[in-house]
Amino acid sequence: MMRGLGGIIYKEFIQITRNPATLVITLLIPIIQLIIFGYAIDTEVRNVRTQVLDLDNTPQSREFLNRFRATGLYDIRGYVASASELESAIVSGQASVGIQIPSGYGRELSGKRPAEILVLIDGSNNTIASQTMSTAQTLGIRMSIEQLSGSSPERSLLIDVRPRFLFNPALRSANFFVPGLVGVILFLVTMLLTSFAIVSEKELGTMEQLAVSPVSRGGLMLGKILPYLLLGMIQMNVVLFFAQFIFKVEIAGSLPLLELLALVFVFSSLGLGLIISTIAKTQLQAMLMSFMILLPSILLSGFIFPRESMPLPIYWISALLPVTYFVEILRGVILRSAGMEALWDEALILTCMGLLLLAIATVRFRKTVG
């Protein structure tokens, strides 16, 4: 049943250590990705470039601008002299926000009509636009209440909403991205490397040689899986180590549980890799097919964008991706210290997916290997 397994494993390990591409894929790419996703992707919005047209120029208008500045969201870079200048600053990209204070603002503050402030927002970046908009509105409401009550605003509020963050209290993006990244990297490497496993033998012509040898299909398939399984697990631990070392993302939950669930997850990505390997005719094709699965896995798995806000068809597609469940497990264990009792449904789905994909791979394998 498993004849030739030892021989295949022996050979795969020599090839893994000897092929520079394999080493780059397993070690360099994860670290580069970790740095890119860990540092560059930051959903917190700060220091938005802001231009001001202050036609009022009174102590009240300057006070208003100071309150804007104090949020840390608006970085007031300069002042313009006219409305058209303000607009062209946004069109040219010099500023993302333009604040226009009409003359008479200070006077109307104590009058009967509301004092109007115009806030121009560049809507092309929706994250920046929605943050700057809601902050500006909140600021307006707060200052109105202060003005009306004439005292500290908290006493006068009828409803006081006080949020308290249970996990990730500093709201660091790294805490959100890095656990998911561990999953995406593990998926990328194990799927990509196994997808090359059979294709490369086909390209070399060695598949024919193996076919006439007494190697069994089971031995060949397992021999192609086990080395990459081990490689994937080593790599996940390297990435976890860097995540703690560079990004200070501590693992709150149980590491053995994480390793166990990672093992379950890796079977489905190895299964996908093998399926690709039996379909593709060249390594290039295998790589392109891998990326066809990889792209939705990165974008739709909840790794970057929350799944809850996806349109229903996309949500269902994301439910078909193994990475979706593993990202959920990773965040659960690493950030929320979740145990098996909280993650059993994800673990069950992953187990089923892994078994199904390996079964399909076995059938496909039988056809190509003959």
């Binding site: 295949i8 020599i14 090839q15 060695t206 040689q209 076919a211 006439v212 040898s213 007494p214």
Partner: protein, 316 residues
């Protein structure tokens, strides 16, 4: 290993393979005795590889059966695979592994166990691979790659060897050495099944089979094939003449009624003439060349029979 000690080493009985509506191999039968070198010839796409794949247990024949050392190729594929060696035209070793590692890998695949090192030393010695043991297989020249492939195929001491165009693209010296080695193997009782496109290699085989358009056209020793009546029709004779630098009037000869198969082999003009053309007429036509009676070459045999088969196919 062989279940029947004195039966044929390789036996094909009415092998037929259909892929959908296409018949790749039609009713092919032959036997190869132990220790024989059997040459399997035929144009590309004629069904050669399919026959080999059926005999090696990779393809289940649509009809008929193949036997290796008495074992059924499809029903006892595992035992068959363990007793055959296979070496293909394409260099099918791992270029990023050293000679030693390639051998070690194939030894493990065949489950040599404790005998691995003993067998590795033996094939390295047999094929004089010792100076290259630590070299990457990809860095070897064509001839040495073939030697390594042969060494890998011989590790498990197969009684039957399939060699698919083993000398394609290697230099004449390496080719000669390889054939010397094949004779040595045959002398030790190993049965060799060799495919080739080279006529001089075909001449070296004990027996030949020629497959064309999925059917076995010819089967026999090289001499038997040359004596086949279809190759030399009644009343026709093969002639040859030394050229000694004379330019022969090939076109004129080729157009002449009763003359066919005009070819030049190096310094010799070779042709087939029937009773309508006498020897003195030939000399006259060829501008004074002296003709003597010759024999058909293997190339003549294959070319003539391929043409005959082609004609029969067109006018059923």
């Amino acid at each position: 290993m062989a279940r029947t000690a004195d039966g044929p080493a390789i036996s094909a009985a009415a092998l037929t393979m259909r892929f959908g509506s296409f018949t790749a191999v039609q009713d092919v039968s032959f036997d190869v005795s132990p220790g024989e070198i059997f040459g399997f010839l035929g144009p590309n796409g004629s069904g050669k590889s399919t026959v080999i794949r059926m005999l090696c247990g990779l393809l289940r024949p649509s009809e008929g059966s193949g036997h290796i050392l008495g074992m059924d190729s499809s029903r006892e594929a595992e035992s068959v695979k363990r007793s055959i060696g296979y070496m293909s035209q394409k260099f099918s070793l791992y270029p990023d592994l050293t000679v030693h590692e390639n051998l070690s890998f194939y030894g493990r695949i065949y489950g040599l166990g404790r005998r691995l090192h003993e067998r590795m030393d033996a094939v390295v010695k047999q094929l004089h691979l010792a100076p290259y043991v630590q070299r990457r297989a990809g860095a070897l020249s064509g001839g040495w790659k073939q030697r390594l492939a042969l060494a890998c195929a011989l590790l498990h001491e197969p009684r039957v060897m399939f060699l698919d165009e083993p000398t394609a693209g290697i230099d004449p010296v390496a080719r000669r050495e390889l054939w010397d080695f094949l004779y040595e193997l045959a002398g030790r009782g190993v049965t060799l099944f060799v495919t080739t496109h080279y006529m001089d290699e075909a001449e070296r085989c004990n027996r030949l089979g020629y497959i064309y358009l999925s059917r076995m056209l010819l089967l026999g020793t090289p001499d038997e094939l040359k004596a086949d009546p279809r190759v030399t029709p009644d009343s026709a004779r093969w002639y040859e003449a030394g050229l000694d630098g004379v330019e022969p009037p090939l076109e004129k000869l080729g157009k002449q009624e009763g003359i066919s198969d005009v070819t030049v082999f190096g310094n010799t003009l070779h042709l087939l003439a029937d009773s309508r053309v006498s020897q003195p007429q030939l000399t006259e036509l060829a501008g004074g060349l002296e003709f003597r009676e010759g024999a058909p070459t293997l190339e003549d045999v294959f070319v003539r029979l391929t043409r005959l088969a082609e004609q029969q196919r067109r006018q059923p």
